[in-house]
């Protein structure tokens, strides 16, 4: 690993590192980008890493994550055995796979490709060289490097990630899958950046998986910017299944132009500390967005979903549904914020957060927040925390179903409200299966798979044909 320095991550370290290695970091930049980095690092210098004293970080303490030592990755190894790393064992899921290992786009032989229908996909670093104008029009335009310190740090340091461009009026025939794997013998501190641009009236299904292979601690700070042109539609899936010593700060910034549509699904099955920042802005009227989330946490896992929806234009509709099941010592945070601006008339916004606590030691902090500056709106939110429905339980028990099975059934039904929204059939079936296993405590991250769901009795191995990439 080049440029790696194993240390505790501090603000000072990051600032020194940026000062010393600026040339390496900005080697591939188009002219405007280096200035963007300089601005971002200045903002980071002012903001520093967040602490629990900040409202947005009150219930997510990074102290433990920062106590570990990491190698700060500035430039990854070139030689990676792609075949060995990327496998997806979802039967019958036909996707175009893009692999990301330790923050860098892999498959160096074809770093960027253009499909017959004009879709460009590949490495962001490569795209910067080849299509600087396209990148410049979008990169850094949606992400908030001003108030969000992790995003600022990412803007300053990130060199690579995934880039997808779908031209106007093109509908991607099959889903694109990004598999982001962290696999290294050292503790890594990673920062990668993804940019996804959908042209007018285009369509894309994107499955974005975050996985880890071994139990090595890691800290990733990933920023993804997604721009949906007018009338574009995106079906977005984020699957997270990381080891218990990992920390993932994932910030996704959506910008929806007029009449664009988004269905986003966050499925968090495992992860030491997961922080999902999702920020969405309606940048034109008649947009429609639905965001679904399910988190199933146990042990000492912590998941934090921060969802911000900015209704800046009239006639937009947004819905949020986040459900969680918290077992053992796990904890979760849901922080939903809907902002309806002054002129955003005829806005419909709905937020819902439901949680089930299974033990006395599990914790939930929920804050569904509405900020409304306009009277012509229909907004509502709800939040419930409790246990499984006793009446339903009684009903099942009465019909001879054992307590354990009845519990499973009810929890599964509870989760199904979110999982049932998955539109890609093989993926939904797979997630259903994973959730069932997860509820039975079987699904753990293990050494040899990406989705970590095959048990020794029932080995489901499915190797992706790498020629597809």
């Amino acid at each position: 690993m080049q440029g790696a320095v194993k240390q505790c991550i501090t603000k000072e370290l990051m600032l020194t590192l940026y000062g010393d290695r600026r040339a390496v970091i900005s080697a591939n930049d188009y002219p405007g980008l280096t200035a963007l980095r300089d601005d971002a690092i200045r903002r980071f210098q002012e903001l520093g890493f967040p602490t629990t004293k900040l409202e947005a970080w009150k219930h997510t303490d990074l102290k433990e994550s920062f106590a570990k030592e990491y190698d700060v990755v500035l430039k990854a190894d070139d030689a990676v055995d792609v075949q060995k790393v990327f496998r997806c064992n979802i039967p019958h899921l036909d996707t175009a796979i893009m692999g990301q290992l330790n923050g860098e786009y892999v498959s160096k032989d074809v770093p960027l490709m253009t499909l017959g229908n004009g879709i460009i996909m590949g490495s962001l670093a490569e795209a910067m060289k080849k299509y600087p104008a396209l990148i410049e029009a979008h990169l850094g335009k949606y992400a908030d490097s001003v108030t969000d310190s992790f995003t600022a740090l990412n803007t300053a340091f990130s060199r690579d990630g995934v880039f997808i461009y779908v031209p106007d009026n093109v509908k991607s025939p099959k889903p694109v899958q990004i598999i982001n794997v962290i696999h290294h013998d050292e503790n890594l501190f990673l920062q990668s950046r993804n940019l996804i641009v959908l042209g007018k009236n285009s369509r894309l299904s994107l499955v974005h998986c975050d996985d880890s292979y071994n139990h090595q601690p890691s800290f990733s700070n990933v920023v993804t910017e997604i721009h949906l042109g007018e009338h574009a539609f995106m079906d977005h899936y984020k699957l997270q299944n990381l080891n218990n010593s990992s920390t993932l700060i994932s910030s996704v910034y959506f910008q929806l132009e007029a009449a664009a549509g988004l269905e986003s699904h966050y499925i968090s099955l495992n992860g030491g500390l997961l922080r999902n920042n999702l920020r969405l802005r309606f940048n034109g009227p008649h947009g429609n967005a639905n965001i679904y989330g399910i988190y199933l946490m146990d042990r000492k896992q912590h998941t934090d979903n921060q969802v911000f929806v900015d209704h800046a234009f009239p006639d937009c509709t947004s819905g949020e549904l986040f459900k969680g099941i918290l077992d053992e010592h796990s904890s979760a945070v849901f922080n939903g914020h809907v902002l309806v601006e002054r002129n955003a008339v005829r806005t419909n916004a709905y937020q819902s957060n439901r949680n089930i606590l299974l033990t006395e030691t599990a914790k939930i902090n929920s804050k569904p927040f509405l900020e409304i500056y306009n009277d012509d709106v229909k907004c509502s939110h709800g939040s419930t925390t409790g246990q499984l429905d006793q009446d339903a339980m009684y009903y099942l028990r009465q019909r001879g179903i054992g307590e354990e099975s009845a519990r499973m059934l009810l929890m599964y039904a509870y989760a199904d409200e979110v999982i049932g929204k998955i539109a890609i059939d093989p993926l939904r079936r797979r997630v259903e299966d994973m959730v069932k296993k997860r509820l039975q405590g079987e699904l753990q991250i293990c050494e040899a798979c990406v989705l970590h769901c095959n048990t020794p009795e029932n080995p489901v191995e499915f190797t992706i044909d790498m020629t597809k990439i």
Binding site: E55, H59, R342, V345, N355, L357, L358, T359, E360, T361, A362, K363, I364, N365, S366, K367, P368, F369, L370, E371, I372, Y373, N374, D375, D376, V377, K378, C379, S380, H381, G382, S383, T384, T385, G386, Q387
Partner: protein, 482 residues
């Protein structure tokens, strides 16, 4: 809809504040500004025992180390604490033996406000403690109450006559370290009401305190302490008004409630401080810390508030549910108009087992105002089988206003159930149409709908207050069509 919403909303903003008069009473002031000397002056003026002065000075020194809270969704221009009189009192004789000795101007003031200080008016059935500027002027009904062993007097009297009770409970629910304004209040509070209900006594009348800011450039810092001993019950009401002035005035009160085993306290407020004129000039800054503790098992504290006044409201009446099976309730209607800002809500801290809390909050915003609900429901690890239900709705009248909901929900055990729901919308066109179709004009239709919307809370108010509150609502929102 035929009627032009803007025009009608314009009319709303012109509804007058009818308590805006100033009474010409001779007043004596403490020297302007805040220092240890001010604190000593106030304590000296009240002839307080040493422990009180010590308490005040500790609070003052702590206050100096604190910063004004900035987290609320409020825009508050910086307050110059050296430009305020921290103590103002109507000049008076030592003690009023009977009403005849009370300054007739004062009596007239309270009569004008509709508050009966004359004990003859027994029909009203309310014992009143009237506080003008910094001091309590008159407490009615105290004789009747003393028959039951109920202590109801001004805070200064309590400090003189019942120092042991004051020492035991003052600051036990809201310590001076709690927040910036509580620290300020603890240092300079001038008066307020004190109420103690002995074991097993059900207070036969409603107790009431009426607060009035009269003098210019003064801040009002009153302190209320209510202690309900085992099995006691009391219903307590608080009202407030202030004259119309161009400058902003500060009101930083602290209310503490202690409910012992099986005790029940009901605290109702109709807050009608001067809200400022329609351009947002003047008005009261209302920074109040209200908190009750359900100390014993099976105790209950219920807060009901109707908030229509103040330029800025920063107020979170809260319950600490410490005893097992204790119950906390919060019912609130908050109306903001013109440039008013309100950030109000509650905290329900569930610590005991089987504790229950209910939160019903109804926000109504009009004009260019901002109305926020901010509430915390915290179920701690040991509060097994606890239950909370929260509902906070916001009604928006006019396109210039804002309504915000900030519920914080923290649950740390599996056997509790917490539910929260909130809606934000304007008055339904269907409901308006229905009413108008039946011959009501837009104004009365709105009045009806708003009253219906707030009814869940209004019905919690004691009868005397419910009438006033309903009138207040209709005055504040007269004829507004969304």
């Amino acid at each position: 809809m035929e009627s032009d919403p803007n025009k009608i909303i314009g009319e709303v903003t012109q509804s007058d504040y009818k308590y805006g008069f100033v009474t010409d009473i001779e007043t004596e002031y403490a020297p302007k500004g805040l220092s240890e000397d001010t604190v000593r002056y106030i304590s000296g003026k009240k002839n307080e025992p040493a422990f009180m002065l010590e308490y005040r000075l500790k609070a003052f020194r702590h206050w100096l180390t604190m910063k004004e809270p900035k987290w609320a969704h409020l825009e508050i221009p910086p307050i110059d604490f050296q430009d305020i009189f921290f103590y103002a009192a109507p000049k008076k004789k030592k003690e009023y033996e009977s009403l005849d000795q009370v300054d007739p101007e004062l009596l007239a003031t309270f009569n004008k406000l509709g508050i009966s200080l004359e004990e003859q008016k027994k029909l009203s059935g309310v014992a009143v403690d009237a506080v003008i500027d910094s001091v309590s002027v008159k407490t009615t009904f105290s004789d009747t109450l003393s028959k039951y062993g109920i202590l109801f007097c001004s805070m200064s009297e309590a400090v003189q006559h019942h120092p042991e009770l004051v020492k035991q409970y003052l600051g036990s629910v809201v310590p001076y370290t709690d927040n910036y304004y509580a620290a300020l209040n603890s240092a300079v509070f001038s008066d307020g009401s004190f109420c103690y209900i002995p074991k097993g006594v059900r207070c036969p009348v409603e107790l009431s305190t009426y607060f009035r800011i009269n003098a210019a450039n003064t801040g009002q810092f009153e302190r209320t302490l209510i202690v309900a001993d085992e099995g006691a019950y009391v219903s307590y009401m608080e009202g407030c008004t202030a004259p119309q002035r161009d400058e902003n005035q500060l009101h930083a009160a602290v209310v503490e409630i202690v409910a012992m085993k099986d005790a029940s306290v009901k605290y109702s407020t109709v807050q009608n401080w001067y809200p400022g004129d329609k351009n947002g000039k003047g008005g009261i800054y209302n920074f109040v810390t209200k908190r009750g503790i359900c100390k014993g098992n099976n105790s209950k504290i219920s807060w009901t508030q109707v908030e229509t006044g103040s330029a800025v409201t920063w107020k979170y009446p809260s319950c600490i549910l410490l005893g097992d099976n204790s119950v906390g309730e919060f019912y609130s209607v908050a109306v903001t108009n013109n440039h008013q800002q309100a950030d109000t809500g509650t905290k329900m801290m569930h610590l005991g087992k089987n504790t229950k809390s209910t939160i019903i909050s109804k926000g109504i915003s009009a004009g260019k105002s901002n109305n926020s609900y901010r509430g915390l429901v915290r179920i701690s690890k040991n509060a097994t089988n606890s239950r909370n239900y929260s509902q906070c709705d916001s009604l928006l009248l006019g396109s210039g206003c804002g309504a915000h909901t900030w519920p914080y929900i923290q649950v740390e055990n599996k056997s509790s159930i917490v539910e929260h729901e909130a809606t934000t919308s304007k008055i339904s066109e269907d409901q308006l149409f229905y009413c108008q179709q039946r011959g009501m004009n837009a104004e009365s239709a709105i009045g009806l709908i708003v009253n219906g919307y707030a009814k869940e809370v209004l019905k919690q108010l004691p009868m005397e207050f419910a009438v006033e509150a309903q009138k207040l609502l209709s005055i504040s929102l007269e004829g507004s069509v969304g």
